[in-house]
């Protein structure tokens, strides 16, 4: 069940007046939104709107230019964040020379693994049981994406930040992502996903946060893009 009955609980992740600029060019913001346990929120926007940058800021890799991020009500530091967040980035983080299983075993060693799950079961969970010993460079783009999803699945974290999780996947893959998201949300986790609109999370009506690409012209007061936290 996703939807509107989670707002009585304290917010898992909160962003207040969050903005990021590079070389004084605004990339996104100021944004205000809150994410609660059990929610899947979709960040929409065209290419170049700053969706990936927003996820990187929320994961702690980049420092915001202004504004604040709060985790469980406390201000965020990278040290507090890292045990609680898994980031699925555009590049994936897989070594091409290692097999799918070796990549997952490394991730498990580095980040730990979810209770009751192993690298093998995570791989099975994304439909790649027979591919454990295949070097990642021999996998197709869709299969590589599934391995990365397995890595996220394996991580013992409550908050998923997924950048374009549907990219490169076929119809079965898309259904897989939705299944994983639904199970994660029902188990008390939360996820923030980006998509440029092609395929969206279909379970219930997810909250959407639109990001608008900033124009190239510099005006004194660039119009503030408010993340319309749809209620």
């Amino acid at each position: 069940m996703s939807g509107t009955d989670h707002h009585d609980r304290p917010a898992l992740l909160e962003a207040q007046a969050l903005a990021f600029a590079r070389n004084d060019e605004p990339i996104f913001g100021p944004l205000d939104f809150a994410l609660h346990a059990g929610e899947v929120v979709l960040i929409e926007g065209d290419n170049g709107a700053g969706k990936s940058t927003l996820l990187r800021v929320l994961s702690g890799l980049l420092a915001p230019s202004s504004g604040e991020i709060r985790l469980h009500g406390e201000p965020l530091t990278l040290a507090r964040l890292s045990p609680q967040v898994a980031l699925l980035s555009h590049q994936g983080g897989l070594k091409p020379e290692l097999t799918a299983l070796e990549n997952l075993r490394f991730a498990a060693g580095l980040h730990g693994q979810r209770a009751g799950m192993s690298a093998g079961t995570a791989l099975a969970g994304v439909g790649l049981e027979g591919y454990a010993d295949v070097p990642t460079r021999q996998l197709s783009a869709g299969q590589k994406k599934r391995v990365v999803l397995a890595r996220v699945l394996l991580a013992p974290v409550g908050l998923w930040l997924l950048d374009e999780p549907y990219a490169n996947l076929d119809l079965d893959g898309i259904k897989l992502v939705n299944r994983l998201l639904e199970r994660h949300a029902n188990g008390g986790g939360a996820a923030l996903i980006t998509s440029h609109g092609a395929y969206a999370y279909t379970s219930g009506t997810p909250r959407r946060i639109p990001l608008q690409a900033h124009s190239a012209s510099r005006t004194a007061d660039t119009g503030a893009i408010d993340g319309a936290a749809a209620r």
């Binding site: 890799l61 980031l87 590049q91 983080g93 070594k95 091409p96 020379e97 060693g109 580095l110």
Partner: protein, 227 residues
């Protein structure tokens, strides 16, 4: 070891790096080949007289190994940066400096240690005096980790830049100068019959400090580069 704990993370990282080197073990020979080529060119350039070569031998071998190490430095973070694994290291809950220290250690083990093993052979090519050979190996054992640690800080600053080779060389040169002076200086002192303990001790002291400080500096530099 509990998965996700610090020892498990370091072990997983080192195991991964050793596996990666093993999968591309042909490439691991490149630094040795390069050092061999540099050393082989010197007699062709300055003449084969044994006396002249003997006087230069320790210094030339040091420079050759230094240059080979410089070439190998590029592989330290590049592939991790390009496929996104470096981000995963930064995002992990463990101190980045410790993880980078493990990375640098495996890198030294797989690029510099083979060079040190080959060094006496290179010495034979240049008629290196017997008395100096073990001083040279000692000096290399102390200097090459220093070169790896100092080089790693500079690589962290230029990570992700295309064609950063010349810039990297420019950045590491001022850091390498003292290491080269003391390392090759110890060998030259031994060759001249002068006491050689002092420069080796300086190298040792510098190595101990670098072991503590360089991974921290490397992590700070990486955070700046990735921001």
């Amino acid at each position: 070891m509990k998965p996700g704990s610090l020892p498990a993370a370091c072990a997983a990282l080192m195991r991964r790096d050793l596996t990666l080197v093993w999968r591309r073990r042909g490439d691991a020979l490149n630094p040795i080949l390069f050092a061999l080529i540099v050393v082989a060119l010197f007699p062709l350039g300055v003449g084969p007289e044994p006396e002249q070569l003997r006087r230069m031998s320790a210094g030339v071998i040091f420079v050759a190994i230094l240059l080979a190490g410089l070439l190998a430095l590029d592989t330290l973070f590049r592939s991790d940066y390009e496929d996104g694994s470096l981000e995963q290291l930064v995002l992990s809950r463990h101190p980045l400096s410790l993880l980078l220290g493990c990375r640098i250690a495996v890198h030294w083990l797989t690029t510099a240690l083979p060079l040190i093993i080959v060094a006496p052979l290179l010495g034979e090519l240049l008629h290196l005096a017997d008395a100096v050979r073990w001083v040279m190996v000692c000096a290399l054992l102390l200097s090459t980790p220093l070169l790896s640690l100092l080089g790693a800080v500079c690589v962290a600053l230029t990570v992700g830049m295309h064609r950063s080779g010349m810039l990297l060389a420019l950045l590491v040169l001022p850091l390498y100068v003292p290491v080269l002076i003391f390392g090759a200086g110890a060998c030259n002192a031994a060759q001249m019959g002068l006491p050689y303990a002092a420069p080796l001790l300086w190298l040792g002291a510098a190595l101990v400090m670098a072991l503590v400080v360089a991974p921290l500096a490397c992590a700070a530099a990486l955070r700046i580069s990735l921001s």
